[in-house]
């Protein structure tokens, strides 16, 4: 009997259930047992693909590799600096492969680690190879292109909450206000938010400084009519009444 006739016989004999059931079982059991020894390395529970987001372990590893690297330390100098951000980056392979099938391009796992230097208003961007556990290119970045770190807005709010005019603005609830870690899903009733200020004129005290405008949000809405700017470089808080 030819294979096709056997298959036909199986199907026509009302054995479709047997076939589909066996198929499922095979996918789950047979293939791993039949092929694992020869072709497939042990598979972790969730295999991270090259374009998946960084895991928390990878983020911590990237920060650790960058902060302990002697070249990075040299780039950061002796002055005050801040680790600002660890981000996923997909680097293109050096050699182009003609095939367009996406899973044939091997890009590895990389991160960019960004620092800010307060002494010269400059960012230091480090590319980290997570597989080789090494740093690659280190690039200087304009200060205005460096985002604020969560720690910086916390510093700014601590400075502001020690300012008498800010405490007067917030009244009896001044001690209730705090910076929310929005990434962690925190949404407290009285929270402090910040916006990055960019000064373009040398006459502006925030020119080439790290400045944040603080916003105070209550459950009912934002407190209006006053602007609070914190200069983290000079550690100065400026409070101004604004027109209503």
């Amino acid at each position: 009997m030819s294979p096709l006739r056997v298959l036909s016989h199986i199907l026509h004999a009302g054995r479709v259930h047997l076939l589909s059931g066996a198929l499922s079982i095979t996918v789950v059991l047979l293939v791993p047992t039949a092929l694992a020894d020869r072709f497939v390395p042990p598979i972790p529970q969730r295999q991270v693909q090259s374009l998946d987001p960084l895991t928390s372990e990878e983020t911590a590893l990237a920060a650790r590799i960058a902060t302990t690297d002697p070249r990075v330390k040299e780039s950061l100098g002796e002055g005050r600096s801040q680790l600002v951000q660890v981000q996923f980056v997909a680097l293109k392979p050096n050699v182009y492969q003609a095939s367009q099938e996406p899973d044939q391009l091997k890009t590895g796992r990389h991160a960019t680690v960004l620092f800010y230097r307060y002494d010269n208003d400059q960012g230091i961007l480090v590319i980290v190879d997570l597989e080789k556990r090494s740093t690659g290119e280190i690039t200087r970045v304009e200060g205005r292109a460096v985002p604020l770190a969560f720690e910086e807005i916390t510093q700014a709010s601590n400075l502001a909450l020690r300012n008498e005019r800010v405490r007067s603005l917030l009244g009896s609830r001044a001690n209730d206000f705090r910076v929310a870690n929005l990434s962690a899903g925190e949404r407290p009733e009285n929270r402090i938010e910040g916006l990055r200020v960019v000064a373009t004129s040398p006459r502006d005290p925030c020119y080439r400084h790290r400045c944040i405008d603080l916003l105070f949000r209550q459950r009912e809405g934002y407190i209006v009519g006053t602007s609070v700017t914190v200069d983290l470089t000079s550690q100065v808080v400026r409070v101004e009444r604004t027109a209503r």
């Binding site: 009997m1 294979p3 056997v6 298959l7 198929l23 095979t26 996918v27 047979l30 293939v31 969730r46 295999q47 693909q49 090259s50 374009l51 998946d52 987001p53 600002v84 951000q85 981000q87 996923f88 980056v89 997909a90 293109k92 182009y96 003609a98 367009q100 099938e101 996406p102 391009l105 960019t112 961007l125 590319i127 970045v141 304009e142 205005r144 292109a145 985002p147 604020l148 929005l182 990434s183 938010e193 916006l195 990055r196 200020v197 960019v198 373009t200 502006d204 405008d213 916003l215 105070f216 009912e220 809405g221 934002y222 407190i223 209006v224 006053t226 602007s227 604004t242 027109a243 209503r244």
Partner: protein, 375 residues
């Protein structure tokens, strides 16, 4: 005979399993669920076209596309469009001269979405572990109509919102069944508490790492329509951008960027390209040097991700012809404050500014061999 049957059955089962595994592998596209969107069109019935997209929610940039491939027919290979596409910066200057904010430069987080944001009944599915991304598969209206013959189209939309303190920005990417891509930013929520009645602009800068048919061999042309009103004829020109630079959009010339690969052609022998066309109400210009152009073209550099640093990226212009290019587009929302935005009640702002959009379209040009979505 019984033994033969068993062997053949095992063979069939093994073959089927391998096919299943192979298909799953092909669909991975270097990212895994829930960061993978694999969408065929039409959504039911025989497939005609297909998108395969990888995305990531990122603080600051919001929803970032980390790969996008289009398949123009079930028998065609996937063609890469994006290596990476993101909102690189959103510049917000107030008309009084200050404040001037770089909203992406804060690293704002994305907002977790709920069923009101992304209703299942409207074709929505919330993606990613943090629930920051909504996928909507929806009807996009008329694709073409010819008397009583008509074709409606579909699109898959990915969107998420960043919480920029008092403002929210909705970052939206639309992938259509005809290969068109729309990138949009919508500005909404509450006016700035210090100066809630002051007009201002929201200027997103997109960084589009377009790698048509792979990353080498791309070139960008400025496409212009020129029609002097003193005559009756018009011409359409294409000028190669040879070195890194910024370009102006002129509404009288329908300025667009024409992005073309050196080798990608359709079966008619015509070079396949994508046209970058603005979707805008006006042209924002400010003192800051990065706002002086609407388009920029740079050579790929993974360390160059900041829209506000564009002038420094092109200060020593490298060649961008027939190489690995990145295209940048700057748009703007002009927010004239109105009573509908809200009001002050007992020293607190009450109200929400309804969403205003700006963006662009990327449209295939000679990618298909004939009219797509046509019998």
């Amino acid at each position: 005979m019984r033994g033969n049957k068993r062997h053949i059955l095992m063979f069939v089962l093994l073959l089927s399993s391998l096919l299943v595994i192979s298909a799953a592998r092909a669909a991975h596209a270097q990212c895994s669920a829930p960061y993978l969107v694999d969408q065929q069109f039409p959504t039911s019935g025989p497939p005609e076209t297909r998108w395969r997209i990888c995305f990531q929610p990122m603080p600051g940039n919001g929803l970032v596309i980390t790969a996008a491939f289009f398949q123009k027919s079930p028998s065609s290979p996937f063609i890469r469009l994006f290596w990476d596409a993101r909102v690189s910066e959103i510049f917000v200057p107030y008309h009084t001269g200050g404040p001037r904010y770089l909203d992406v430069g804060f690293g704002f987080p994305m907002i977790p979405l709920n069923a009101n944001d992304c209703p299942t009944a409207k074709g929505g599915t919330i993606l990613s572990p943090g629930k920051e991304v909504c996928k909507e598969v929806r009807d996009r209206g008329i694709v073409w109509k010819d008397d009583t013959n008509v074709r409606r189209g579909d699109e898959v939309v990915l969107w998420g919102a960043i919480d920029a303190a008092n403002y929210n920005y909705v970052i939206e990417w639309v992938f259509r069944d005809d290969g068109v891509v729309l990138g949009r930013v919508g500005a909404t929520a509450q006016n700035l508490p210090g100066i809630p009645f002051t007009a201002h602009m929201h200027g997103p800068i997109w960084r589009l790492d377009i790698d048509l048919n792979g990353f080498p061999g791309d070139s960008v042309y400025v496409a212009k329509h020129i029609e002097p009103v003193t005559g009756l004829t018009a011409t359409d020109t294409m000028t190669l951008i040879a070195t890194e630079s910024g370009q102006q959009w002129n509404p009288l010339e329908f300025t667009a960027l024409h992005i073309q690969d050196a080798t990608l052609k359709n079966t008619n022998g015509n070079a396949s390209a994508y046209l970058l066309m603005p979707l805008r109400f006006g042209t924002p210009r400010h003192q800051e040097d990065f706002t002086r152009h609407d388009f920029w073209v740079t050579r790929y550099n993974p360390a160059e991700m900041a829209g506000a640093s564009l002038p420094s990226y092109v200060s020593t212009p490298a060649t961008v012809a027939n190489t690995d290019i990145v295209v940048w587009y700057y748009g703007g929302v002009h927010h004239l404050v109105r009573d509908e935005d809200g009001q002050i009640v007992n020293g607190v702002w009450k109200g929400e500014a309804h969403i205003m959009w700006t963006g662009f379209m990327l449209k295939p040009h000679n990618l298909f061999d004939k009219t797509p979505l046509y019998p």
